[in-house]
Symmetry: C2
Subunit: 311 residues, 2 copies
């Protein structure tokens, strides 16, 4: 029997999610009719995002579950009209995407790929042999779920990885540090530094003139975490002086990064538009399809929200 799935997460996302959802339903063996426009009393499941079209869930009388597209449910969990089960999104794709973006850019800087991309001038420069990853010292600041996963992926590629976190961690293959002395130890050896800390009052501007000066000359910085971890003026000064060789930045104090911001034009900066840790349509669609499958089979839902706890 056909399952009616209402996509109530906005028309922009419809373009990104329609094909992945149809594919995920097909893979899961579900005959789903995914639409922006099912009449409320015919809807079996709702794919939901907070800024979508639904405020009142009362007319959705036969709906078996509301499947949130994001991890956060703070805007919907208190709705008095929502009596159906609510599931949040736990997207393995977010962590996987972060690992891919971080390893890709660390390898790019390690191998000096930019010089090849920008140096297609007919001159065969084969005298520069980059060191092996085992001889390349990488620092990772922040060893939470994402930081740890990225540090482990880099260590698996044989990079010489040291990590720092506020509380001391113990991760096989990673030289783990904590505290102020530990931060200095990681910075002083980091030829490539990856920021994966949360933004807190303690971590704001952790990368400032003082910490930049402690890094090896020509070190490279990769930031897919939060813009305010970096004192932008201090970083620009360090890039201008050559103390920092390159910065690849995915996050900024103001996003979108304004077109007149000096990062865009700086020859030693690569701006990427906050793409390192997106929820991915393909993996998110699989979570949605799995929950529809479970609902049709009478099984319990994945990631169902505890309405009293609020998450």
């Amino acid at each position: 029997m056909t399952v009616n799935v209402l996509f109530a997460a906005g028309e922009t996302r419809w373009e990104q999610y329609r094909a992945p959802l149809d594919e995920a339903f097909a893979e899961a063996g579900i005959d789903a009719d995914l639409s922006l426009n099912h009449p409320p009393d015919t809807v079996d499941y709702i794919v939901f995002a907070p800024n979508g079209p639904i405020d009142d869930f009362t007319p959705y009388t036969r709906t078996k579950a509301v499947l949130n597209l994001w991890a956060g449910v703070e805007k919907i969990v208190g709705s008095r009209t929502l009596t159906q089960p609510l599931c949040r999104m736990v997207d393995s794709g977010l962590e996987e995407g972060m690992i891919e973006w971080v390893t890709g850019h660390v390898l790019r800087h390690h191998l000096g790929i930019d010089a090849h991309i920008n140096g297609q001038d007919g001159v065969w420069r084969n005298g520069i042999i980059p060191p092996l990853a085992r001889d390349r010292r990488v620092g990772v600041l922040g060893l939470g779920a994402l930081g740890r996963a990225c540090a482990e992926a880099l260590a698996a590629l044989r990079f010489d990885v040291a990590g720092w976190s506020r509380s001391q961690k113990d991760i096989p293959g990673i030289a783990c540090h904590s505290g102020d002395d530990g931060l200095s130890a990681v910075l002083e050896r980091a030829e490539i530094l990856v920021l994966l800390m949360p933004l807190t009052p303690h971590t704001e501007n952790v990368i400032d003139a003082g910490t930049l000066a402690r890094m090896p000359r020509g070190a490279m910085i990769v930031n897919p975490a939060r813009g305010p971890l970096i004192d932008d003026d201090a970083l620009l000064a360090a890039l201008d002086s050559g103390q920092i060789g390159h910065a690849t930045l995915d996050v900024f104090r103001d996003e979108p990064l304004p077109p007149e911001h000096p990062y865009w034009a700086h020859p030693r900066v690569t701006v990427t538009p906050h793409i390192a840790s997106e929820t991915r349509p393909a993996s998110a669609a699989r979570v949605i399809a799995e929950n529809v499958r479970r609902g049709e089979a009478g099984e319990s839902f994945l990631f169902e929200v505890d309405r009293d706890a609020g998450y």
Copy 2:
């Protein structure tokens, strides 16, 4: 006691190897005097390459071993004046470097990094979400030591990897194919194709108009193996038509690639100067130091050549 090590591998390599060798000797606890100019009758070990200064080993009366800097010993193994033990180089760095170059360039194409490097124009384009590695189909042609190692590294990053080899292989996590039908199966799904075959009469021009046409439109090719695996005219035509989206080429029929070759100027080609699989000074130096340590300790040498077998 100081061990006298003669560097007889050419003055160009002296610049690359001097510091790594000194470091490797220090790490191994060997008090070595590394020089280009020890008198022959004072030399304990010779670091050797075929185009270096030594033809006649007769005056090296106290030399305990000749340590070849490369894997191939065909130019020295038949020398009638060489009575000392001869060791060839087995450099783990060659395989590690290949893995790093291949994963770096596959991630680069997977993530679309070139568009960011070349697109620092102030426009925040965050609507393009790349697929996850698990949804990116990579093909690896050739599953010998290097091909297998690269395929496994890509699978560890969760890429959807299929491989082809002449004889059927069985590698966990890799969809292994062989034969003509198997080649088509790998080509037809390869969004990114990595060439790691040996060059034989069977593999020359394996990438020609016919095989290129079987790949998905816009596929990317990465070749760190041998230049003649590719029919250059056919590849250039496929790049011009858009059938192939990009080619990153490290090897060529003629090396250095002549400055007038169309690959240099083609907007969809990245030339790198045969750097993917170099013997690396740091890891090669560790092999040399280990053999000196073994010689001084009276232990048997690593990778000692069987003079009758010739390798």
